[in-house]
């Protein structure tokens, strides 16, 4: 089975903080990491390969340094990687990203595509389903369990807001996965050596036969108009006193605000 895993390099969001004085992001020394959901996507790909045979190919789009996440994927056991990198890809929104990935993935060929549910920088969760639409294949979002795999079908559980559903997905198809699905394996020694040695193929716009008006900023229907710090929360207070007094004040305040 030919499995493609889409990964993304993201800033370590939990270390992105706002400077309370200047209200700007404190950005010094924020490391780049592989999007955490994508580790689970890779793990899912590797587990399916172990059962079914075939290979797992990790693909990412980004600046040249995004290569780091592909090396990390190799260290976990991924067979091949592709880096889509081209200045013209820069500034892509989810539409242009999904378009670009779809062109490259068509070129590679596939039976199954696995994406993380969302990336933690944008949190849109849109690229997976958009990619499925571009490739005209079915998709299942929020997969929390892969029950069985055959050459033609996946049986999975989809996590919904209020329940979960057991679903049969025909292949070729795409899934996006949540963290509950598995525990990503750590890199192996052999994997680390392979990652170091690997020559990672780089594809540009011509390599994937993408059209310029559909990639990068130019191809993106959405644009960021401006960014700003989240509005500070309204009144804040510490409630002092003995525990009895604290609790009584709290109840009074909550009643005043109509919370109780």
């Amino acid at each position: 089975m030919k499995i493609i895993v889409c990964v993304k390099q993201v800033p370590h969001v939990s270390e992105v903080k706002i400077d309370p004085k200047t209200n700007t992001l404190i950005r010094e020394g924020i490391p780049s990491i592989m999007n955490p959901y994508d580790l689970h996507a890779i793990e899912a790909g590797l587990q399916i390969r172990e059962k079914m045979g075939g290979k797992v190919i990790a693909i990412t789009m980004g600046p040249p340094q995004a290569e780091e996440v592909l090396r990390e994927a190799i260290s976990m056991g991924v067979d091949e990687t592709v880096l889509l990198t081209d200045r013209r890809f820069a500034g892509a929104d989810t539409w242009a990203t999904a378009y670009t990935l779809s062109k490259a993935i068509r070129k590679i060929g596939f039976d199954l595509i696995i994406c993380g549910k969302q990336a933690i920088d944008g949190d849109t969760a849109q690229v997976g389903p958009e990619l499925a639409e571009f490739l005209d294949i079915p998709h299942v979002s929020y997969v929390r369990k892969i029950e069985s795999v055959s050459d033609s079908e996946l049986i999975v559980e989809r996590l919904m807001d209020d329940c979960y559903e057991k679903i049969a997905l025909s292949l070729p198809g795409l899934i996006t996965v949540v963290k509950e699905l598995n525990t990503p394996r750590p890199p192996s020694i052999r994997g680390k050596i392979a990652a170091k040695k690997a020559v990672i193929p780089r594809w540009n716009m011509e390599d994937i036969e993408a059209e310029e008006e559909n990639v990068g900023l130019k191809g993106s229907p959405t644009m960021v108009k401006n960014i700003f710090a989240p509005p500070p929360r309204g009144e804040r207070m510490f409630i002092e006193g003995t525990p009895e007094q604290q609790v009584e004040t709290l109840i009074k305040e909550l009643r005043r605000l109509g919370c109780l």
Partner: protein
């Protein structure tokens, strides 16, 4: 690059360096210089006192946008026939937007429901209803195909859907096919007075920054909207409207739901709809400790959430987890008990209306966002709170 600095105008004052969230501007030889780290966010443009930073994209977006698109549409989600609360919230904000645009509001409803009229009373002028069993539960391809057909036929200017597991799964397929902009998980929506574009405001970077997104050249402008953020409009019991039955399409069948598992404990959790959440972290100390949180939650008519620490300890199942790797919630009242407030947790609950934090450590970050902070032992405070509430203190 699309963001440029006019070197002659630049005085090297460095204002833009502070404005840039990505550290992408450097001063070289007393002039500002944009590095490869630039994400084109545009935050620097307004910061420049000399107006030396130019956004070249403004030129690109001058394409003529379709004038024939009009009307605000909302996707009315139902679950087993019951219309989801977020649908009425969408009607609330949809009415406001439509008033500014001088257009009407239509709802699209897939699947059988006895509550179709409710959509009209909550603000819809028209309802496009596909009343077919095949549409009862989410079928991404069927939903997308049907909505695409409706959009192509009626050409709405704006389409809003809930940022729920349903909306966030199938709406991207619609946007991909129509080649239009889609903005995820919006928490604010306005009409730009100058251009008439929909300003879509949403958190990014785990809620650490807010961004205003526009889709200036494509129609419809599509956004998913976070549940429990928008206010419902006025309920008009006498209001009438038109219900248009839309013939169902045949499912492709490439995805088949074999079984729905409505685990009772799982449904009870429904954190996203809860008005009150009592949440516990490492400070709760044990699975046993969560019992008093349940008691408090049921007194307040709410449910129980947890931080990742408590879930990892095995004190409470994953389905209760709030935060970056769990659920994003925005209840009216969030009571954080023994939660220190790691950023990963905060991003999942910081849009709650009122946050109460109970923690022993006065320096815990949770207090930075708490409306009311109580420094103390939750094992003393929570039982007291339960007792006083039962006694009816302050009523």
């Amino acid at each position: 690059m699309f963001i440029k600095i006019e070197i002659e105008k630049c005085t090297g004052c460095g204002s833009c360096i502070n404005a840039c969230p990505f550290g992408a501007i450097e001063i070289k030889d007393y002039k500002a210089f944009i590095t490869e780290a630039c994400t084109l966010c545009g935050a620097c443009i307004e910061s420049c006192p000399e107006a030396a930073i130019i956004d070249e994209r403004q030129k690109i977006q001058q394409k003529e946008k379709g004038k024939e698109y009009s009307g605000v549409w909302i996707f009315a989600e139902q679950s087993n026939g019951k219309i989801a609360s977020v649908s009425y919230e969408l009607l609330g904000v949809g009415r406001k937007l439509a008033a500014e645009l001088n257009s009407e509001v239509s709802a699209v409803l897939f699947g059988p429901s006895d509550e179709v009229e409710e959509l009209i009373k909550w603000g819809a002028d028209k309802v496009y209803h596909v009343n077919s069993e095949e549409y009862r539960f989410l079928d991404d391809e069927l939903y997308a195909e049907t909505l695409i057909n409706l959009i192509n036929e009626h050409k709405p200017e704006i389409l809003l859907a809930g940022a729920t597991s349903v909306g966030r799964s199938f709406i991207p397929r619609v946007a991909a096919r129509l080649r239009v902009g889609l903005t995820a998980d919006c928490t604010g929506l306005e009409i730009d007075k100058e251009t008439g574009n929909l300003l879509q405001i949403r958190p990014a970077f785990g809620g650490n920054i807010m961004a205003t997104i526009v889709s200036p050249t494509s129609r419809p402008q599509i956004a998913t909207v976070r549940p429990r953020v928008m206010k419902r409009g006025e309920y008009l019991p006498e209001k009438t409207g038109q219900i248009i039955l839309v013939p169902p399409l045949k499912p492709k069948g490439r995805v088949r739901i074999l079984q729905r598992i409505e685990d009772v404990s799982f449904c009870k959790i429904n954190l996203q709809d809860a008005k009150v959440i009592v949440s516990g972290g490492r400070g709760v100390g044990s699975a046993e400790g969560f019992k008093m949180l349940w008691e408090l939650a049921s007194l307040l008519g709410g449910t129980v959430g947890a931080s990742r620490a408590a879930v990892d300890e095995g004190w409470i199942p994953y389905a209760h987890q709030v935060g970056q790797t769990g659920k994003t919630v925005s209840p009216k009242l969030y009571i954080a008990c023994g939660i220190s407030g790691a950023v990963q947790h905060l991003v999942g609950m910081q849009s709650s209306d009122i946050i109460v934090a109970i923690n022993k450590d006065p320096n815990a970050p949770i207090f930075n966002i708490a409306t009311y902070g109580i420094v103390g032992d939750l094992k003393v405070i929570v039982p007291l709170l339960i007792k006083k509430l039962k006694e009816g203190v302050g009523e």
